[in-house]
Symmetry: C2
Subunit: 772 residues, 2 copies
């Protein structure tokens, strides 16, 4: 755990430079606008530890698979989010010396992520090896007011000398992925244009042929007054820009503003990229950097009004939750059904930036509750559009007759992960994709989605489970052998309770919806049967038999479900017995040792209890929680939020608070010693849930929103915004009770709290006091 | 299965060229002399499918690990046997046309591996695209009379033209491994010398800095008469040789003889390599190719006299067993304790040419029975010398206090395999290393080996098992979790019966030998305690407790041992139910499907019953055999021989014969569709065992050799040579009984057959008739 960042309600602040943590800071201070984003690399050259990163949503490359030992069924490539054109560069030479914080003496340094207004700021005074001192002040943002624009403002001031400063500023397409499997360069240059004061660079990805166009112009100011420095063109094959020579006097402020347009062929036709880039830049020319900045800041103020979660009395918790919300908002806006949410967003390369089950299990619940239902629907449609590919993926692994196995990791519907124990065996992902459909329909009431799209996916998934189980003569039950559950610290186990449970749930839910549709809408029902060629009697007959006779491992003596067969054979040590020098285990123990140990990476049985809580009584949940939480090391970012929600449900306030803190500050405090690779974006949705479903106890049942609030003793109050069936409302929880404010001008809201239903009329609020 | 090779008692013959099978033929027709060897590549250029391969014993390269997903504990490199200098090249140009069998019309073709005399011969007549026809006749050998020498004789005859032939012949160091992880070149040139009529090339491996020196001179003959063609030097950075211009007339035979010396820094100091190469070549100059060839052939005749296994009445079986013996003799001579037996010998790159448990489980029994005991001892010493590295390997995985885990794959004692389910979990290899010590001591009676070397290894292995088990509260027994047994079609299973069984056997045997040594030789005993810092009471107390309370899975109803926990949950289909289009499974099924299926790659429970047969009654062995054989696909070369031996023991003659055939002709008929990668050298030892321990029922108990012979109905008789405690004797089994001929001039031999002991006096023979 690292705690070098300052507590602050609205900002993330690094005071004094921590070069050893620079890659961590680069992740934490990342910027994005849903279309593109970047790590917080320095504008000027930096020879210290750094992971360069600029990313464009949906632009990926199928990197040739790297594998020690090939297994049948492995995909040929791993689709990777690409490090793209570097557009921040403002490189400074003072006389003969290159400004480089790694080789300079740092006199003062402050880096601030302004979350309220969505920008990154950096101030530093440094002394170069020659003794010359300069001050720099950099600011930049990726506009959310116009998601084609970004800007950098960079001021440099000589503190103890007069002299010449040489500035290189441009667009650099000669970038590589640090995680390229074979050190290949994934881009080739398309065009490089120098026209008037604008510079354009278009690069194309190899194989996938995505074009990314970046363009910019700059303005220079001396003590705030526009001037024209001596400039020459600077071009290389994959680079376009300028070299400036500027004479400066001690104390003079030289400011460079770089206005950037960034478009990709994902949203603009390739032939139009140049014109659209031109237009985007031209649209800014009547305005200054400050004008663009103001538009952007206003958009952020508006976003916060819709999505803030205020915690009073606990600065560290407040900072953390805002950081989570801020990064989620930077990553995904929900407007393009071709896009999804990579585990690292725009903050790193790890996990390829591709779609995982995180989206369905963690992000969809968040977006359902905080955004228009269109957003969650787009995420569901993403999978619907990949159904055919999921069926093909199933065929590759020996399944037939329309059985779909969705990929573990994907960009375009094809599997692109290659670890047999995960790729082939972590099949529970199919369950969360079905569960997300249920979740969406339950929350939004949009039953049309089932008839139009959802049933096709549900039936294909049910078919998969039917073929994936087998009958055990010995157990006289259906079993699911050879899987990896959510807890990836077990591989190739038999009868993972979570997987078996979600498998039968999928079949049950599919049958239930089929029955309902048959009654509600016979023509839709008939269409579905025809479309999916469902042999209703035979197939649902099979499903029912499996649902009735599925084996679910448990230990009756302890009153717990067993994570998998044989779990009780393990040495039953607890996390509290672990020497901290062994943590995180995955950085200290060999894989076999992790596998045979009792320690759990992330919620597994508890994930199932969370999804299906209504099927279990509180005591069952408590016994399982006590058993599994004491064995869980939470080395997956997706774990503590689920445990936090259950802890709150079980009224374990301290535990819930600790777990909330762990999920909320996972990256800020680098709990798992891996923030340098990028932020854990998808788990940030879980953080929000751990407040709203955890402390506030929010659930949706029928047409009402339920609350069962808890106020951690560290907090004075907390409040958040929600969106339920087009009603945006605010909830504030304090020691006095709950205040619910319905902002919808037309619709009333039904709320359940403290054992009673309450009607919150349109445009009004009520206060509900706990009378117990 | 492919059956394109002709049945012949002493030869492997390909009549008519099969370019589609060329890589298979290159493996099958391989040559070697224990020091170096090569695939049967063509001397002249060939543009068709081919895997070039020349290998030098013990010369390896640590190729940087290629892995999709790094796990703690993975080794940094995979040590690979290296494709080395190509010395066979005799490249032919006829006018402007390059002789290339891939682009010529083949008029006739015959390739013969002469096993009796140890050489490769190829005759072909071809028509070039221009219509010119040539005949070629090539012969070559790697001398076993002088293991520094090799020779090629190549005759080319124009059949329908007069003209000029250009011949390039040299030494080519610019070779690569087809399996290089990152397409790197593993060699760098050291020296290239042209002196008199000799040419020398020395190459050095990167990182490991092994030098390999190759040298040659040539002689040219026209219709058998020596002549001097027009010759010019041909050199490149990593090549040295000649280019010859020869005018020929239709029907004239031009013969080129290439005499080669090959030395490596493994057996000659680097500074002496040049001189020794010179000397090696010089030693040949008084002789002709035919003289050298005669020496070599004589050496082979002698070898066969010591090692032949004659089967009468079954040409296919006879050819196969000779092929197995021939390849084993080509691969390993047992003279250098630094060398071991790579799974592919000198016939391919796969499995890195490194040492596996094959050596202990399959090869040591073979060499014990067929060679001087020094050979098996050298193989044991190889592991003894790696003990410290094995302890370090254990430490890497979290073991302490002198616990050794021998590597799964190694060149120098360090682990160099990187698949967690094998590298970290296939720990039964430790058992076979201990078992080999027992086997050696039992067979040779050399108890001194235990006191001097064996105990150190046994104690370190027992310590490993002690730490690797854990107590299961649920089972009230010790368990071994998370292993891969010999059957690699299961990964990360709990309580593999074989592993648990051999683990406790290791501890038992170690304690037993300690007790015996304490009585026999107190000073050795004390030395061992001090050397290994053994806390005799505490440690053997722990071992005893584990031996007494180890869990061994079984199914009492079926009366079988269970391969592992949960095995009966699988769908119990049989190999006979499998569609042949799915075979071999590993080329058709995805890995998860293989894992959750019931199908077994290789003997696992049966391997244990074979090792420890005296612990089990025949009915137990029969029940297990019937259960497991029907589920075993034998997709490991190491499998059918063990099943064959047990089938013979169970008097299942047809089954034993089928399994013998499968092991014996595995490569000749390409059963597993992988012979193109190289031959399955280590399993060839198992083939010999399946005749001697299988059909002949040979066992050693006390100071006697036991036979319990069976004569397959396809055979008239069979006979083989054995070596037992310095007594070399021949056994012949026919319908009349057994004939045993003791060739030792001094010692008598005690033989047990047909329920009685028989004394075979020195230099005499007896015939034992079955009187039952």
């Amino acid at each position: 755990m690292k705690e070098y960042l300052k507590g602050d309600e609205w900002n993330i602040v690094e005071e004094g430079f921590n070069p050893d943590f620079n890659k961590i800071s680069e992740s934490i201070f990342s910027l994005g606008n849903g279309r593109f984003g970047q790590r917080a690399n320095f504008e000027e050259f930096y020879s210290g530890e750094s992971l360069q990163g600029n990313y464009v949503a949906g632009v990926y490359y199928p990197d040739k698979t790297k594998v020690g030992w090939w297994k049948n069924g492995y995909p040929e490539y791993f689709a990777k989010v690409l490090n793209s054109i570097n557009w921040i560069e403002i490189d400074i030479k003072v006389g003969d010396e290159r400004l480089d914080l790694a080789t300079s003496k740092i006199l003062d340094f402050k880096r601030t992520l302004h979350m309220k207004e969505g920008y990154l700021e950096r101030q530093a005074s440094v002394q170069l090896p020659s003794g010359k001192q300069v001050k720099i002040h950099a600011q930049r943002f990726c506009s959310i007011a116009n998601d084609r624009l970004a800007a950098v403002q960079y001021t440099v001031t000589p503190l103890n000398f007069d002299g010449t400063i040489e500035v290189s500023l441009g667009l650099d397409g000669d970038v590589r992925n640090a995680d390229a499997n074979y050190d290949e360069h994934f881009w080739e240059p398309v065009t490089r244009v120098e026209q008037d004061d604008c510079r354009y660079l278009t690069m194309r990805t190899k194989k996938t042929a995505f074009d990314v166009s970046t363009a910019f112009y700059y303005r220079a100011y001396r003590n705030g007054t526009l001037f024209q420095p001596v400039a020459e063109s600077l071009t290389r094959e994959q680079y376009v820009g300028y070299k400036l020579q500027i004479d400066v006097r001690e104390g003079e402020e030289i400011t460079l503003c770089k206005i950037i347009a960034l478009l990709s062929s994902l949203n603009v036709a390739k032939d139009d990229l140049f014109n659209e880039s031109q237009a985007a830049l031209a649209s800014t020319k009547a305005n200054s950097y400050d004008d663009l900045f103001m538009d952007h800041k206003r958009a952020w103020i508006k976003k916060w009004a819709e999505s803030d979660l205020v915690i009073k009395g606990d600065i560290s918790a407040q900072q953390a939750i805002r950081f989570n919300i801020f990064q989620l908002n930077q990553t995904y806006t929900g407007e393009d059904p071709r896009l999804n949410i990579g585990p690292k967003g725009f903050t790193g390369e790890k996990y390829g930036g591709a779609t995982h089950w995180d989206t369905e299990a963690y992000c969809i619940p968040y977006y359902l509750r905080t955004a228009d239902s269109r957003v969650a629907k787009n995420l569901l449609l993403y999978r619907y559009h990949h159904l055919q590919k999921a069926i093909e993926n199933g065929e590759k692994l020996g399944f037939t007759d329309g059985a779909a196995l969705y990929p573990m990791v994907t960009m375009n519907g094809e599997e692109c992960h290659n670890e047999w124990e995960i790729t082939f065996e972590e099949i529970h992902r199919n369950g969360s994709i079905a569960y997300a459909i249920y979740n969406y329909v339950n929350y939004t009431g949009d039953r049309r989605y089932l008839a139009d799209y959802g049933m096709d996916v549900l039936i294909a998934i049910a078919r998969f489970w039917k073929q994936r189980v087998n009958w055990s003569e010995e157990k006289q039950a259906y079993v699911i052998l050879g899987v990896t559950g959510p807890n990836e610290y077990e591989n190739n186990v038999n009868n993972n309770w979570y997987t078996n449970t979600i498998a039968i749930w999928c079949m049950k839910y599919t049958m239930e919806v089929l029955r309902e549709l048959e009654a509600e809408s016979p023509s839709d029902y008939q269409n579905i049967l025809v479309r999916t060629q469902l042999d209703i009697e035979r197939e649902t007959g099979d499903w029912k038999q499996i649902v009735d006779r599925m084996y679910l491992p448990e230990n009756k003596e302890l009153g717990i479900f067993l994570q998998q067969d044989g779990f009780m054979d393990k040495e039953q040590t607890l996390v509290s017995d672990l020497d901290s020098k062994h943590r995180p285990l995955n950085q200290h123990w060999s894989w076999d040792r992790i596998l045979r140990s009792v320690f759990i990476k992330q919620a597994d049985v508890l994930q199932g209890l969370y999804f299906f809580e209504d099927q279990f009584d509180l005591e069952t949940i408590r016994r399982n929680f006590d058993f599994y939480e004491s064995r869980t090391v939470h080395e997956s970012s997706l774990s503590p939020c689920v445990h936090a929600i259950l802890a709150a449900k079980l009224n374990k306030e301290d535990k819930a608070y600790d777990l909330y803190f762990r999920t909320a500050r996972l990256d800020l405090d680098d709990y798992n010693n891996d923030t340098e690779d990028g932020l854990h974006i998808t788990s940030m949705a879980g953080t929000w849930m751990s407040v709203v479903e955890g402390f506030a106890g929010m659930r949706v049942r029928g047409n009402s929103v339920y609350f069962s609030p808890m106020l951690p003793k560290q907090w004075d109050s907390y409040s958040f915004m929600m969106n339920f069936r087009d009603i945006v409302f605010q909830v504030e929880i304090s020691s006095e009770g709950i205040k619910v404010s319905n902002t919808n001008a037309e619709k009333d809201l039904s709320v359940h709290a403290f054992n009673r239903y309450h009607e919150v009329k349109a445009s009004s609020q009520i206060k509900i006091v706990n009378k117990q």
